[in-house]
Amino acid sequence: QQQVKQSPQSLIVQKGGISIINCAYENTAFDYFPWYQQFPGKGPALLIAIRPDVSEKKEGRFTISFNKSAKQFSLHIMDSQPGDSATYFCAARVAGNMLTFGGGTRLMVKP
């Protein structure tokens, strides 16, 4: 039983488009929501993270939107580039506990 449900499993976007990956959770005790990016043949690396006291966090072309009432958060990649092609994992943590990861989204950005 996955506590963090991620969708879609795979996504194809044209260069310059917006990539959107969604995650939903049930446990209202989660208080930290990171996103990890994994390139083929490499381990995941922290991309961006948010806490539930803010509704949005932006770092360059990457934005996390957080909807506490809907228990959803999403990653938006603006002006998507072929170099963004990777697998993206959302995650969540209850304070004092370990990270719970979503199932992953494989993003392909076509030139």
Binding site: V4, Q9, K42, G43, A49, M98, G103, G104
Partner: protein, 115 residues
């Protein structure tokens, strides 16, 4: 830059064998983790260690054990490998408390096939 090194990129073993996966980190991090990565299931925590000789079970510890005799090295052991343990195994490390928001730094993974 933090470096987490996993000893093998690919490994093929037979059912019933005892398998060792090795991981070394060079940043003097207190915590080390072993995950397995399967399509659609994301990363699932097998075991973690917050100090030398200290360990805790993660979400899926059955069939695995771990060893941390030195701070920089964390080993995952499959006591008697089975085909359902065919997977990508990822090692990670982080500083401070294992339950803090410090980012985890991952190795590049070991793809293990059990025949």
């Amino acid at each position: 830059d933090v470096k987490v090194t996993q000893s093998s990129r690919y490994l093929v073993k037979r059912t019933g064998e005892k398998v060792f996966l090795e991981c070394v980190q060079d940043m003097d991090h207190e915590n080390m983790f072993w995950y397995r990565q399967d399509p659609g299931l994301g990363l699932r925590l097998i075991y973690f260690s917050y100090d030398v000789k200290m360990k805790e079970k993660g979400d899926i510890p059955e069939g695995y054990s771990v060893s941390r005799e030195k701070k920089e090295r964390f080993s995952l052991i499959l006591e008697s490998a089975s085909t359902n343990q065919t997977s990508m195994y990822l090692c990670a490390s982080s500083p401070g408390s294992p339950r803090s928001n410090q980012p985890q730094h991952f190795g590049d993974g070991t793809r293990l096939s059990i025949l």
